[in-house]
Symmetry: C2
Subunit: 223 residues, 2 copies
DNA sequence: AAACATTTGTCCGTATGTATA
DNA sequence: ATATACATACGGACAAATGTT
């Protein structure tokens, strides 16, 4: 019996990893609310495992800043404030700005085409009024550039921030935010900068692509 | 009996925290070499605790990128390459650049004076040929600016990168690198930018203050 | 003030999985 | 291919610490 060649090798997923992913999702999408108490025994029963993998997952989430543990007292989902948006986005802006700058000098035309295709999906999702799909396409676009930059430290920080930003949107907007067409244009401009190997312009556009939505979001929430 | 007012409240430090700090130190200063195998049972005995807190500490170190765990196989100190310097420093540069930019608008004169005092200690250490003290003063200077920026995400990433950069120096140079007087001048220029609330200049100088040593270090190692 | 209830922290035994002979 | 040795993953019980009644 022929085995599909590109069959994903059965990644051994530990109970700890499953618990980590599940809890991260629940915290990100607001199922577990900010400030909510987390008892490991309870979560262990809910996920059908012992306390050990739950504890380990919680400790990792604490390091990621999604959970706060008070030894001997309790463990809670970390709170998040409106003001955090003014810390999350500028940090992401400089990181992705660096990613764009680094990517500009090593990106190949095939990758630029792929990015253009993703941007088209992004535009379609916006036009069709599908905010969730739009958000995913936008993240895909940014993540591909981060990957191309080939900087593991940058990638790690970016991934962590993306989780926090996603949570921010879900907690304060109850749904993915509507992306604007301005973002589509900025993406296109960025690709043009890539084509002429203009790393400074690419970085500047990338920063703008994050700081503009920040301001829009900030005004939306303050209503 | 009067109790010292600013007596540090006896922080309850768990075995896991102690193990984490100790292992992080050992990895950073090169006591535990890149690629070295880490057996939890062995470390547990060495630190006088059970395997549980060791395991937990190792998982946190893995998330920080200092350790790599291969389930069912082994756990090793993550390797580090010369090329990592070209990833570490630019990332730190944009983060600290943002810190300087943010700090510039909210820093108070008293803090600028404290920074000037730290910079003087930095200069003295260089002149006296004390590279370790110089490195510590330099870190103190940068960390104070990061603190002033008041961005927890930024602080977290910066602290993590600082560990990796320190490790890089110890692994490849076997000792703290000699800081140059150029750095002292850049620090002074930065403080001048703070005083006139010039956040753009502050950010630019900060980036330069990290990218210049990167290039010097890179050339030194390639010898 | 002291004992209690709750929750986290630690220990160690066992099961499971991987790589090697 | 099978067995064996080794290290990790998980589970459950116990200990310690905190805040409260």
């Amino acid at each position: 019996m022929p085995i599909p060649s590109n069959y994903a090798k059965p990644i051994r997923t530990s109970a700890k990893d499953r618990a980590f992913s599940q809890l991260q999702r629940w915290i990100t999408d607001g199922t577990l609310e900010p400030g909510e108490k987390l008892t490991d025994a309870e979560l262990a029963e809910a996920l059908g495992v012992s306390r050990t993998p739950i504890r380990e997952a919680l400790q990792l989430l604490e390091m990621q800043g999604l959970v706060e543990m008070h030894p001997g007292v309790d463990t809670r989902v970390k709170k998040i404030e409106k003001n955090d948006i003014l810390k999350l986005y500028p940090t992401m802006a400089v990181l992705h700005g660096l990613a764009a700058e680094a990517a500009a000098t090593i990106i190949i035309s095939e990758q630029i085409e792929q990015l253009a295709a993703i941007n088209m999906q992004f535009a379609k999702a916006i036009e069709a009024g599908q905010p969730y799909q739009a958000m995913e396409a936008d993240e895909l676009f940014h993540n591909m550039i981060v990957d191309i930059a080939n900087n593991s430290y940058l990638s790690s920080f970016s991934a962590s921030l993306q989780i926090h930003i996603r949570r921010f949107k879900y907690v304060f907007l109850k749904r993915p935010v509507n992306a604007t067409e301005a973002s589509v244009q900025e993406h296109a401009d960025m690709l043009a900068a890539f084509e002429r190997r203009d790393h400074e312009a690419a970085a500047a556009i990338m920063k703008q692509n994050l700081l503009r939505p920040m301001n829009e979001l900030y005004e939306t929430i303050e209503l």
